[in-house]
């Protein structure tokens, strides 16, 4: 069976696929438990980090205006040097203009990058430490920070949950043949 890739499953989870892709993915999910689990994991992540589900209100108009202004600045700089006698390539001003444009574009790029990065995981505020298993292992999250122990890609894993606040994951290490028991604890 050919499985949809992670991006398709993520888009399906968020309801962002087109009609045909959605239909095709739904048909696959009806037959494939593994992919259903992947989608469920995406759902869970989206629910626990609601901030991730939406692009924040970016000041797109302001950013666009800044970019336009910088482009105009560059063009204006170009116009300034056009009337000067020496050939264009020999003008010192045009180099200065290019540098100004380049700096302006770089500044816009950096500002945009910073704004876009800011909303990413503000790691859903939990009142107390949370211990849980994930598709890749087990983790403890406290104060927005996470410590996880992963299963080294092993599929057959036995998890155990402890009411005191710990979780274990046990598997046979495929390289060594030894059993590994990972545990995360709330302290």
């Amino acid at each position: 069976m050919r499985h949809p890739n992670q991006a398709t499953l993520a888009l399906h989870s968020g309801g962002d696929l087109g009609p045909f892709a959605r239909w095709r993915t739904s048909r696959h999910l009806a037959q494939c438990e593994r992919c259903r689990e992947e989608v469920a994991a995406f759902d869970e992540v989206r629910q626990s980090l609601p901030g991730l589900a939406e692009v924040p209100d970016l000041p797109w108009n302001r950013l666009a205006a800044e970019i336009k202004a910088n482009v105009r600045l560059g063009l204006a700089a170009g116009e300034c040097v056009r009337s000067v006698d020496p050939p264009l390539r020999q003008s010192g001003l045009i180099h200065g203009g290019r540098v100004v444009v380049a700096f302006a574009c770089a500044a816009v790029l950096v500002v945009t990058g910073m704004v876009l990065e800011r909303p990413v995981p503000s790691a859903a505020p939990e009142e107390g430490p949370l211990v849980q298993n994930t598709p890749y292992g087990i983790e403890v999250t406290a104060g927005g920070e996470t410590l996880g122990l992963t299963n080294n890609g092993v599929q057959r894993v036995t998890y155990s949950l402890d009411a005191q606040g710990s979780m274990g994951a046990r598997y046979v290490d495929p390289e060594t043949g030894y059993v590994t028991v990972n545990t995360v604890y709330v302290q």
């Binding site: 689990e37 469920a40 994991a41 759902d43 869970e44 626990s48 390539r89 020999q90 180099h95 540098v99 380049a102 574009c105 770089a106 790029l109 950096v110 990065e117 800011r118 990413v120 995981p121 790691a123 009142e127 107390g128 430490p129 211990v131 298993n133 292992g137 403890v140 406290a142 104060g143 927005g144 920070e145 996470t146 410590l147 996880g148 122990l149 992963t150 080294n152 036995t158 998890y159 155990s160 949950l161 402890d162 009411a163 005191q164 606040g165 710990s166 979780m167 046979v172 060594t176 043949g177 030894y178 059993v179 590994t180 028991v181 990972n182 545990t183 995360v184 604890y185 709330v186 302290q187």
Partner: protein, 389 residues
């Protein structure tokens, strides 16, 4: 010539700017420097660190957070005179800052003096800020268990009890398989390996979450269902030194909260730790092993004949295949008892062969290891392995 040089300089500046801009974007995946690891093995420990090999650490910036992905392979050597049967390492990330800690326990070892063995640690860290100057991960030796059940280590994670119980279960299962081999021969041992494999595949599995104190309720499932008090049902093992007497918990949808169980010591020895397993039954009658409930209060003490209360102020949530599992009933049974003298009791195979438990319990650690050995190397290797213990 001069102008050409200037032009080249300008182009270089543009390239530099481009690279800077690109690096801003690529910083999302770039390796960051703070992937350092320290491994703390005391000088007087019965193991020595021979080497660490770590795959390249991947550090990924996610907005204000930083995700580190570390894969370590430690090689430890038995420098003592006893055979080592278990090792536990404590894994912390700038301990003071994080409320959690991890451990990697390698059970069912059989490492003689002078022999070396590997321990793999695969860890992920996500922090909200750039890591401070210290190591990203610290690994400390928490305990070493020897063949004769003696122990070495600081035991900050109760490794002594955990490894002793694990070793007793392993001895129990090895003894059973050795007896099977002696009495019924190779075909019976092969059948036993296949049964373990089948059980490993068929046991229903839950995903779980636990927080202390409050409700989890992310999916709103628990919020939609009214909370009710449910009494525990109990499975009694005739030879258990402790028996569960009564217990209850609060249930709402797929969440169980604040479990309380009264236990009675029916042995002649003082008990300092009791652990009970839970089996969850959903409204459709499907059973799952949900978890365990330890008596972790350091003051817990159960004199012979006395009764005490085991209570956890926590909330557990359960799901399978991404779907919440509603809780209809809970059934408890004793899985471990530690006496005041450090001796540990674990259920016998006869106890675990109870048809209700046999449906939900995964094979033990030793059964899983031996069955894996059988799959990879055949039944003769399993026989040789059993002879080593």
């Amino acid at each position: 010539m001069f102008n050409n040089v200037r032009l080249n300089n300008a182009q270089n500046r543009l390239w530099l700017l481009g690279l800077l801009g690109a690096s801003c974007l690529l910083a999302q995946d770039a390796a960051l420097p703070n992937c350092s690891v320290t491994v703390d093995v005391p000088n007087d420990a019965p193991v020595a660190l021979l080497g660490i090999s770590n795959a390249p650490c991947s550090a990924t910036a996610h907005g204000p957070a930083l995700m580190l992905d570390l894969h370590l392979s430690l090689t430890l050597k038995n420098t003592g005179v006893n055979r080592i049967h278990g090792v536990t390492l404590r894994v912390v990330s700038q301990e003071a800052a994080l409320g959690g800690v991890g451990s990697v326990y390698q059970p069912s070892l059989n490492v003689g003096p002078g022999e070396a063995f590997p321990v793999h640690i695969d860890t992920e860290l996500m922090r909200t800020a750039q890591l401070a100057g210290g190591p990203a991960v610290q690994v400390h030796l928490d305990g070493v268990l020897f063949q004769d059940l003696t122990f070495y280590g600081p035991d900050r994670l109760h490794s002594r009890r955990i490894m002793t119980a694990g070793e007793m279960e392993a001895q129990r299962d090895r003894d059973y398989l050795k007896r099977l081999l002696a009495e019924q021969g190779l075909p019976a041992l092969r059948q036993a390996m296949l049964r373990i494999q089948a059980r490993q595949d068929s046991v229903p599995r839950l995903q779980g979450r636990v927080v202390r104190g409050r409700t989890l309720t992310t999916a709103g499932v628990a919020a939609a269902a009214p909370e009710r008090e449910e009494k525990f049902a109990f499975l009694q093992f005739p030879d258990s030194p402790v028996e569960p007497v009564q217990g209850s918990l609060r249930i709402a949808g797929n969440e169980a909260r604040t479990p309380v169980i009264d236990v009675r010591n029916r042995s002649g020895k003082a008990v300092k730790y009791v652990e009970l397993g839970w089996v969850l039954t959903d409204p459709a009658g499907r059973d799952y092993l949900a978890g365990s409930m330890p008596s972790t209060d350091s003051n817990f003490s159960l004199a012979p004949g006395s009764t005490a209360r085991v209570r956890q102020d926590s909330t557990l949530g359960f799901s399978t295949g991404g779907q919440p599992v509603s809780i209809q009933t809970m059934t408890g049974f004793v899985t471990q008892v530690e006496f005041a003298d450090g001796k540990v009791w674990v259920p016998s195979r006869r106890n675990l062969e109870n048809p209700f438990l046999a449906k939900v319990l995964a094979p033990s650690i030793e059964e899983e290891r031996l069955a894996s050995l059988y799959v990879r190397k055949g039944i003769e290797t399993v026989v040789e392995e059993l002879k080593k213990f």
